[in-house]
């Protein structure tokens, strides 16, 4: 997590700004930084801090139960955001329902393409399956909650950008589950694992 979040902090905002800049989308830098701080750094710091404090106050077993009890709220938050987003977009969507298909096509291509690329790379690197499969799956999937959050704060609730990131959620689940099934069926392509668990 530490590795990834350092990357997130240092790479996410500049990379997003760069790619958006290349494709002629103007981005207010301040907003981008502000949203990285408020949706990555602050929740992360709050999470680490409260975890630490709780661990001391109530011990690991009850902490694990508390964390598990909090987990469904992620989904509640996501669905509530989705309801709001589509409430704002209702008019646009009914006017041109075709847009749903148009957004889904490149997203599916992207996920499958990246997975294929990562899988071939893992085969070439002769990684054991137990490392290759999660590495590829994790490489393929997106932190779409962050994308949704940033798209809303950068472009607004009514924007096409927010709509596109929400479709990321719709597309990711079925695609990832099919890739997991594929990864499990192709275990014999890989060298035997060094570490039996």
């Amino acid at each position: 997590m530490a590795v990834n979040d350092l990357n997130m902090v240092f790479a996410f905002a500049p990379l997003a700004a760069f790619l958006l800049g290349v494709t002629d989308v103007s981005v207010p830098w301040q907003t981008l930084l502000l949203s990285t701080v408020s949706y990555v750094i602050l929740p992360l710091a709050a999470g680490v801090l409260t975890r630490h404090l709780w661990l001391r106050a109530i011990g690991p077993a009850r902490l694990a139960r508390g964390v598990a009890a909090l987990k469904p709220w992620s989904v509640v938050g996501l669905i509530a955001t989705v309801v709001l987003l589509f409430g704002f977009q209702a008019g646009t969507l009914l006017a041109q329902p075709l847009i749903i298909v148009l957004i889904a096509v490149p997203l599916v291509l992207q996920s499958d393409g990246i997975f294929a690329l990562a899988y071939v790379a893992a085969l070439r690197l002769k990684l054991p399956h137990e490392i290759a499969a999660p590495a590829c799956l994790i490489g393929t999937s997106n932190f779409f909650e962050l994308a949704v959050a940033v798209a809303i704060s950068l472009f607004g609730l009514h924007s096409g950008a927010a709509l596109a990131t929400v479709f990321g959620v719709m597309v990711e689940l079925p695609v990832m589950l099919s890739l997991v099934a594929l990864a499990n069926r192709t275990r014999h392509w890989f060298p035997l694992s060094l570490e039996r668990t």
Binding site: V25, S74, L78, P106, A118, H129, G168
Partner: protein, 161 residues
């Protein structure tokens, strides 16, 4: 976010997880809730569209609750969404990373050197060229922006590799 690992919003259902599930993963507590995420999101979309049509005033009122261009209602929902994921992160798991440098290397390269660029390229290819007849240029650039944001946001579970 990811489908893989504990840091994600949901886990791979046990029966599918098989060999991917490793010993330092806590067992997935995949509830009904997480497993049918696509269904819930689908229902959320339908509910949103329906409410948006019936009660446009409600959504106008919500849109007005803004502070410095940040919609407070949305900010609260997003925190409700992200915080439970962040508190799940077990810093003790980080020390395992060093044992799997090649797996980590592969995800790092894919996440930061490949994926953002292919996503941006696909977005431009589809919305500026292939779909140009059906999408007006302003919306097209917004959809591209959304795809780029998806591409640069990597899965937080990657260190568990």
């Amino acid at each position: 976010m990811s489908v893989v690992g504990d840091a994600g919003l949901f886990c791979i259902p046990q029966q599918d997880a098989g060999p991917i599930q490793r010993r330092n993963h806590k067992p997935c507590s995949t509830g009904l809730f997480e497993r049918y995420l696509t269904v819930w999101v689908g229902l959320g979309i339908l509910a949103g569209v329906a409410l948006g049509l019936w009660l446009p005033g409600l959504f106008k009122a919500i849109a007005a609750i803004e502070f410095a261009h940040v919609n407070l209602v949305v900010a609260v929902f997003i925190w409700v969404m992200i915080y439970p994921m962040m508190i799940q992160i077990d810093s003790a798991a980080v020390k395992d990373v060093g044992k799997r440098p090649r797996g980590l290397f592969l995800t790092l390269v894919i996440n930061w050197l490949v994926k953002p660029f292919t996503m941006a390229a696909l977005g431009v290819l589809f919305f500026n060229y292939l779909f140009a007849p059906w999408v007006d240029p302003k919306s097209a650039s917004e959809y591209i922006a959304g795809m780029i944001l998806l591409g640069v946001a990597p899965c937080t579970a990657m260190v568990f590799v």
